[in-house]
Symmetry: C2
């Protein structure tokens, strides 16, 4: 069924590793990576990747092994996107914002045999069970310096093999491992090149975490284009403005929160040249768009999930919108849009809750009013959840991946998200499982029951808000409960507000979260922000 090792002259397995080898051969003098004061050309980057792969092999990594990396947005993580698959292994880039037990769960679930980590995150991986090889970025650097620079090319021979596993927050509490294939990563990278307009002379700033959906496949796309990666360990507006100026940045990506931080920074000043900004995670607000455009940004709004390699739709701009009023233009730009270049014509749809009698999915009318769920399929959709066939089967019901995002379909074919079916909060581009937050709250002895819902927020888009009923006679303050949660959860998952009292329930005693959500969102048109 699948493209196996090509014995035919006319077939080569699609794998983004090829992009690095090509760019190293073609762009010999071009700077591939800027990381602090260090900079490497494409041939140097390739050599470092070979050395990295040799080190992994020396650490015992063999084909199909999982290698976890817990790093900020620095060259080690970028190079891991090539070195790990070159060694035949599967990359599992971990979110540095997670807490210890989350890291431990993921490392255990994917069965990582090697974990690479930044020194500052050492405590997070300190208690991984013994067979796991833990190696810090510094120790790795020392090994890389002495490793062979011989070509190391042992990747998947079948393009449908897994290249990476990216863990979602999971709506039922435990993260799920989303598997990307070599083929999918390759095709998505080609689409990103087109939509972001990447050229060999482009300079890409890493404002987007590479541990989010493999940086939306930009580690591969930017490399394919022969453009320059500028690493950025932390979203720091001052540093971003400085790097844009110093390095001549032409492109970056980020959630609207990042754009809000930039636009409202006291040191904000117009860019020396137009900068292409790709945003996702939430629809950008009109104010944000206007502010960023005033700085010289050209904003492209894309949409996707971890399960779709990051972006799968793009709000492709129409020239006839150029002359609209600013508010109307912003409204058009805030729509999630249409399938990207490599997405097939029926690969993204908005469908009714109820399938047809034969089980097939039924489109909602394209009236801009009827709500349905966004579903996707094709080369831009994950292979499945790692070691979780039941969850995969549920997610793929009817032959499409079910996003859990509720949208309308406009007459012009553009889709626009209205709500979420999944109980998830997206805050500053990070997904939060409300179930996980509720579990943490329930661990407090004074709490009887609780419900966590999204509350709209100007900066973060959404933040978690907790509604809590205390046990009879117990007493607990908002600050105290938030501190309790902060010990158990990453900062972004910690509730930003708490309301104590009775919870609305159905006659059978089920908590009516939607009532609480409606209360928080009553001034908003949509139920996402």
């Amino acid at each position: 069924m699948l493209l196996d090792a090509p014995t035919a002259v006319h077939l080569r397995r699609l794998s983004p590793l090829d992009f690095l080898e090509r760019s190293a051969a073609v762009y010999r003098e071009r700077v591939a990576v800027v990381d602090g004061d260090a900079r490497w050309t494409y041939p140097e980057m390739l050599e470092r990747v070979y050395r990295f792969a040799h080190v992994l092999a020396a650490l015992g990594v063999v084909k199909g092994d999982r290698v976890a990396v817990l790093c900020k947005n620095e060259s080690t993580l970028l190079e891991a996107h090539f070195a790990v698959p070159a060694a035949g292994a599967i990359l599992c880039a971990l979110n540095i914002r997670l807490v210890k037990n989350e890291i431990e769960y993921i490392a255990g679930h994917c069965g990582a045999t090697v974990v690479v980590y930044d020194a500052e995150f050492a405590p997070l991986v300190a208690d991984l069970p013994t067979p796991v090889v833990r190696i810090s970025v510094d120790d790795l650097a020392a090994l890389i310096a002495h490793a062979s620079s011989e070509r190391f090319d042992n990747p998947a021979s079948d393009e449908d093999e897994t290249i990476s596993i990216n863990y979602t927050s999971g709506t039922t509490g435990q993260p799920k491992g989303v598997m990307y294939t070599h083929r999918g990563a390759y095709q998505n990278a080609l689409a990103e090149i087109f939509h972001a307009g990447l050229r060999p002379e482009s300079v890409y700033l890493w404002t987007l975490p590479m541990f989010h959906c493999n940086g939306w496949c930009f580690p591969w796309a930017v490399t394919a284009a022969g453009a320059t990666h500028v690493c950025l360990p932390k979203v720091d507006p001052e540093r971003i403005f400085a790097l844009i100026e110093r390095e001549g940045v032409t492109h970056f990506c980020g959630a609207p929160t990042v754009l809000i931080g930039l636009a409202n920074h006291p040191g904000a000043k117009p860019f020396a040249r137009p900068v292409s900004v790709t945003t996702a995670g939430a629809p950008p607000a009109p104010t944000t768009i206007a502010q960023m455009e005033a700085l010289g940004a050209v904003i492209t709004h894309v949409y996707g999930l971890t399960e779709t390699y990051g972006p799968v739709t793009v709000c492709a701009w129409q020239p006839q919108w150029d002359t609209l009023e600013p508010a109307e233009r912003a409204r058009m730009k805030a729509r999630q849009g249409v399938g990207m270049l490599t997405v097939g014509p029926d690969d993204v749809r908005v469908v009714r809750n109820e399938p047809a009698a034969d089980g097939s999915l039924v489109d909602v009318p394209r009236d801009g009013a009827t709500q349905g769920e966004i579903v996707m399929r094709g080369n831009n959709v994950m292979k499945g959840y790692y070691d979780d066939p039941a969850a995969t089967a549920r997610a793929f019901a009817g032959g499409y991946f079910h996003s859990g995002d509720i949208a309308v379909w406009h007459a012009d074919g553009y889709l626009e998200i209205q709500d979420r079916a999944k109980d998830v909060i997206i805050s500053g581009g990070e997904n939060i499982s409300t179930v996980q937050v509720e579990k943490a709250i329930l661990e407090h002895a004074a709490v009887l029951e609780c419900a966590v819902v999204a509350k709209p927020d100007d900066k973060w888009g959404e933040v978690p808000k907790a509604f809590v009923t205390l046990k009879p006679g117990a007493s607990l303050g908002e600050d105290e409960l938030i501190a309790h949660c902060r010990e158990r959860l990453p900062g972004y998952k910690t509730p930003k507000a708490v309301e104590f009292g009775d919870l609305p329930k159905t006659s059978t005693g089920k908590i009516q979260k939607f009532v609480l959500r409606e209360r928080e969102w009553q001034d908003k048109g949509k139920r996402v922000n």
Copy 2:
């Protein structure tokens, strides 16, 4: 082994048909095609393609059938690139410069069941055997106007199926049918988008014949980008300048001959905006480059063959060359370059004549001096020759397609053609088999023996020159022999010069063509022009 009909949610067969459906969904108001006074939007183009496919089905075309099209560069041929595969059939675009017996051979060899033709070429197809359905463009248009506009989507379910067959001139006399696959066409189109810099707002002028390697896959690439096709039935410099101005053309392709014609046209004047020009078929001369750049062209030099979907390498421009002297810049630009974006690292090589003991191919040193043959493999290489496994096996010896082009490999990885191993002449971008020309000459009663070689030419790059020995006592003039050939051959294949006399031979009596070639090329550094 190959990607079959995807039942998996995460796999979609790659096929350029998807590009048209996507652009019709996304770019509803954009002009897709300009053909004379007619212009159609993308939704209109798609509807015409559906109608066209319905007509083909009504004419009896079923999956796997071959449909030949003998048309100038007009919308019918462009739409055939989508309608024929949509109907499940294989497109065979015929070169309108061929003569009757060549057309008949090709139509017979590919077993076309339907032949679409421009009225002016009616005599060329008049004697095709009865089972072949012949339909003129005008009659087709009438049927299309009344056909169903329902979606017609019956393409290959396996991306490795053949989408088109393109006949080469063939060096041994008879044309060979080069098979392209859906996958290969899709990937090549994505690479063309990157290298030509096609954007949704681009306007592409069809100076390049679509019957050459399916217009280097630009029918699919331009459509994928959502750009505008401007048809051009004939390379007419005056009309080209007028269309560039009227339609705001941003891109076109063509052999250097086309550029020479433009640059030296009395009405030549600078373009209103930069125009991206992709050229191949021969290295562009420094004068041509300088003249075209003065008009505002940005020239990209690519290289390939029919067997490689058109371009497979690109002379990727390096910023460090910007400051070179014009002659040196032209020298850099005249090199054939490096593999395109979707070409793998070892997919294009320059190899020695003699393989290693184990049969594997051996690279020449990258010294810019040692000559070897250019070989290619991967997704940018044909599936094989139609109905000719022996020729396919010969062409694919050692696991690579053998181009027959002799090149050096420079230290920077760029290859540069020096000569041809195959006995072929490239004149104005058209390939000429010397064997075919020799056969035509030998049909003259006065001719005893002959040899045809390439002669360098400022306008056409190369033209055929005949060396002829007459039978004892016979007499024949140059003009008379050329007229004889013109009756049997297309104009471009007819010798432009004839020299009568004895032919140089080996001791065993074999004609030493290389001696004749050397004589013609003694003032040139390379043996191609």
